[in-house]
Symmetry: C2
DNA sequence: ATGTGGGTTATCTTAATTGATAACTAAAGA
DNA sequence: TCTTTAGTTATCAATTAAGATAACCCACAT
């Protein structure tokens, strides 16, 4: 095992308290982006088509969906996207096991 | 019945198409704020205490929780709040009945 | 009456997201 | 090969959320 795996990074990151918050936040947005892409594709829309519906540009749609982008989208942005692909947004809060 | 009720406003607002999206967005954030307050209270924290945990000010917490505020919070903001009260954020997409 | 604690509102500043345009890659077809 | 389509990336301007400070209200207690 030469190069560090994602799991390695994960372990090291969780070491520091402040980094942990960041990690969890990233994982949540990562999950979100995957869902957004799936919704769009299921709706049979391209980024360009969705952009047109939302009166914006395809580059902005790409930025929103792209995992590499460092942005944390506004709730309203997520909602507009969801509505455009025929869905409502529901936010749930799951209790954490605080050891 | 002299003054208009919220229900009246709702009906009138739904009349126009562009306003409808806005209404749905508002209702979602309204729902969110109620949940946030409930989580904080269940955690036994005041706005001041939560603000301290998040290294911010109680006025900012109030703005986030307050229904009247016109802001649409960032996903990361919601997550930080949730983590501080011992919860994880999960976003779900509910299919709409497109008549 | 005075003070304290919890929450709200207003305002300014700062930081970040979003809008918009353009240039680019990669894949698929004609 | 040339073209088109889908998606990415970079950049800058414009909008907006978040940080910070201060003043305020209200309930409650001493």
């Amino acid at each position: 095992m030469s190069r560090p795996t994602f799991s390695d990074f994960k372990q090291e990151a969780l070491g520091e308290l402040e980094v942990r918050e960041e990690y969890l936040a990233l994982s949540a947005t990562y999950d979100l982006r995957k869902k957004l892409i799936a919704l769009r594709q299921k709706a049979g829309l391209t980024q360009q088509q969705l952009a047109t519906v939302l009166h914006t540009q395809k580059s902005n749609i790409s930025r929103l969906e792209n995992v590499n982008s460092a942005i944390s989208p506004k709730l309203s942005t997520i909602e507009q996207y969801a509505h455009a692909v025929g869905h409502e947004v529901k936010i749930e809060f799951i209790p954490k096991n605080h050891t």
